[in-house]
């Protein structure tokens, strides 16, 4: 069972994950049209690249934009959630041990308490993300079951992985649940709006180019993010 879950099934999940995301990016770039989008992507390249990078950078910086400054609670939720999701699995000691056993490679790892804190951060912020979907009318009107499903898919590997790491009773169950839910997440990413893990950069970069080239960027004043 373990061999199958972490063997062929994991390979398949990663295959879908990487190929799917590459397809997403290629499809996005191929679908851009200078005339329809009214942005001359291939002209004024330095303005365009500068605009795109600024746009991405400031939005990845906590409190880097006016939006992040004016909504501090959401900003904290957002960054705790996303930093935990990205950092924890990549730098988790347990994951690195598996990598070393299989391929003989590994990299820097997080101390246990830090990994635990990040994971709890993901779980708690996810809870608040659910609560704000219920509590705030401007979020409620946009929310459907699909949003909760995606949140569940995202959080499940962290919840199950955390329990497995605690070596609670039924360790094997939580371990298998962790592997399966993580594989579901990997597969879901390119197939759902979780594809924003790459499309965020595309979309932000696109609007950054728009402002960097056309909407004021060439007047020396791009958008004040």
């Amino acid at each position: 069972m373990y061999q199958f879950l972490t063997g062929p099934l994991l390979w398949l999940s990663f295959l879908i994950f990487f190929i799917g995301l590459i397809v997403r990016v290629v499809w996005y770039v191929r679908g851009l049209s200078w005339q329809m989008d009214r942005v001359p992507y291939t002209k004024h390249v330095s303005h365009g690249v500068k605009g795109a990078l600024r746009s991405i950078f400031f939005w990845l910086l906590p409190f880097g934009t006016r939006r992040w400054k004016t909504r501090p609670a959401m900003t904290i939720l957002f960054f705790v959630f996303h930093i935990g999701i990205v950092i924890t699995p990549i730098f988790l000691l347990a994951h690195n041990i598996i990598l070393r056993e299989r391929w003989g490679i590994s990299w820097a790892t997080l101390p246990g308490p830090v990994a635990d804190t990040l994971t709890i951060g993901v779980l708690v912020s996810a809870l608040f993300l659910v609560l704000r979907r219920v509590a705030f009318s401007e979020v409620r009107i946009l929310t459907s079951a699909y949003d909760y499903l995606l949140l569940a898919i995202t959080v499940a590997p962290f919840f199950t992985g955390f329990l497995a790491s605690l070596k609670v009773e039924g360790y094997l169950f939580w371990l298998y649940a962790h592997i399966i839910s993580a594989e579901i997440m990997l597969i879901a990413i390119p197939l759902t709006k979780l594809s924003h893990i790459v499309l965020f950069f595309m979309s932000r970069g696109q609007l950054g180019m728009d402002y960097g080239i056309k909407r004021g960027g060439m007047k020396g004043r791009g958008l004040a993010w």
Binding site: R30, G31, L199
Partner: protein
């Protein structure tokens, strides 16, 4: 009745069509016919297939439904935070549905789309700045307007407006003769006060080619005279074009892309014909947006640039003040508190916020910024064509409240509004709410304080 005689999918290209629409008072018959108008689902599906590409589809798909765009929208704020005014909801429930249903939508739905695209969004693009993904719903509603226009679901005034551009290459029924006569008339009017003042028509190779808004010709020609006087004082080598003199685009508000192309090409032709060093627009926001920022794409210029360098009126004023072509009499600077209405079309979408402040530093002693301001300012409440649509007057007037409160908070008595739409909205705001403010373009303001060189003054008798 699938197609009405007034409300139909055919754009207005003839005087007969235009007259028929104009004689339908307030579009009463037009909107009655709209209730019967069929949706050409196949054409709608094809249009989406061909024009709704990865940028917009990605925006629609990855929207995280987080609601962070809500308070970016003035209509959400001013309508007691009505969730139906959340930008993401507005776009998902209109364009999102059309895409999802592949064009399988009915008349009632299209009317909802039309009402949303024109009365709940002025395409101010503010929401795009507040979305972590950079999802710009203003851009999408501009696109939606095009879909609506092609299906005949467009507000009556804007069907007329785009028809005006198609017939007159101007936003109003002003012919080339009317335009030239008005220039001559304004020139003659100034003879006594400004000896030697000219409104040069069709001069090749001038430094500046000045373009106007047809409403100036039709309703306040003194604006043209004021422009001429200021150019005269500044010693500019300028001209206007006999053809391609009008650079606005109600067709952009209407979503009539074919008319946008026709209109902007006549302006570009005049640039190519007269070869000015630069083109300068009058104090109009959407004119700058249409002819300078968006027009090159309609006309198919891959560089995204118009044939010659184009500047907004505020850029010229700042430059003239900076270089001393226009000198302000310090004693006549405005003493009262004054504020500036940042136009979405050339401040947020054109990056001219600093230029506007530079002007203010020369003309006002007590300047008060609105909050928010510059790129983050709220729409005046009348943008995107909303000022002119009778059907949505209540929604427009409601939207003005946010601007009223912004202005009141500054305690300014004068609002400088170098944009026709903003100027109109603020005038209407004063009519509706009586908050005791005045509003002005830059031209009359500058004329009230500019130093006139001795040699330009009329000789004493």
């Amino acid at each position: 009745m699938p197609e009405g005689s007034l409300c139909n999918k055919t754009p207005v290209d003839t005087m007969e069509q235009l007259q028929a629409l104009l004689s339908d008072r307030r579009g009463v018959t037009y909107y009655q016919e709209m209730d019967q108008l069929d949706v050409n689902k196949k054409a709608l599906a094809t249009a989406i297939q061909n024009t709704c590409k990865s940028r917009i589809r990605t925006w629609l798909e990855i929207c995280a439904h987080c609601g962070l765009c809500a308070d970016a929208c003035p209509y959400y704020l001013v309508n007691d935070k009505d969730p139906k005014q959340v930008p993401a909801y507005k776009i998902q429930s209109t364009l999102g549905e059309i895409v999802k249903r592949k064009g399988e939508v009915d008349n009632a739905f299209m009317q909802y789309v039309m009402d949303t695209a024109w009365s709940k969004c002025t395409c101010c693009n503010r929401c795009g700045m507040y979305c972590p993904f950079g999802i710009d719903m203003g851009i999408m509603f501009g696109y939606v307007r095009g879909l609506c226009f092609a299906q005949g679901f467009v507000p009556w005034e804007l069907k007329i407006g785009s028809g005006m551009h198609r017939i007159f290459r101007a936003q109003m029924d002003v012919t080339q003769e009317d335009w030239i006569e008005t220039c001559k008339w304004m020139e003659e009017e100034q003879e006594d006060d400004w000896p030697g003042l000219k409104i040069p028509i069709d001069v090749e190779g001038a430094d500046l080619l000045y373009t106007v808004n047809a409403r100036e010709v039709k309703h306040y020609p003194e604006d043209i005279a004021e422009a001429a006087i200021l150019f005269h004082i500044a010693g500019e080598n300028w001209t206007v074009a006999s053809e391609g003199w009008e650079a606005t685009s109600l067709s952009m508000f209407a979503g009539d892309w074919a008319a946008c192309k026709m209109q902007v090409e006549t302006v570009y032709e005049s640039m190519k014909r007269l070869k000015p060093k630069r083109m300068i627009t009058t104090e109009c926001g959407h004119m700058y947006r249409a002819t300078v920022l968006e027009g090159p794409y309609w006309a198919g210029y891959e560089s995204g640039q118009p044939p010659v360098e184009c500047i907004h009126y505020v850029e010229w004023v700042a430059e003239a003040l900076r270089t001393g072509k226009l000198k302000i009499d310090p004693a006549r600077k405005i003493k009262e508190p004054v504020t500036y209405q940042d136009s979405c079309n050339y401040i947020r979408n054109g990056g001219l916020g600093d230029v506007a402040r530079e002007i203010i530093s020369y003309v006002a002693e007590d300047f008060r910024e609105m909050s928010p301001c510059r790129e983050h300012n709220f729409c005046c409440g009348g943008g995107g064509g909303l000022n002119g649509i009778g059907r949505y007057r209540p929604q427009r007037d409601k939207g003005l409240e946010i601007k009223r409160d912004q202005i009141l908070a500054t305690e300014a008595k004068i609002v400088i509004a170098p944009c026709h739409n903003c100027w109109d909205a603020i005038r209407d705001l004063e009519e509706v709410f009586h908050i005791d403010i005045s509003w002005t373009f830059l031209k009359p303001l500058l004329l009230s304080m500019v130093e006139v060189p001795e040699h330009l003054k009329p000789a004493e008798d």
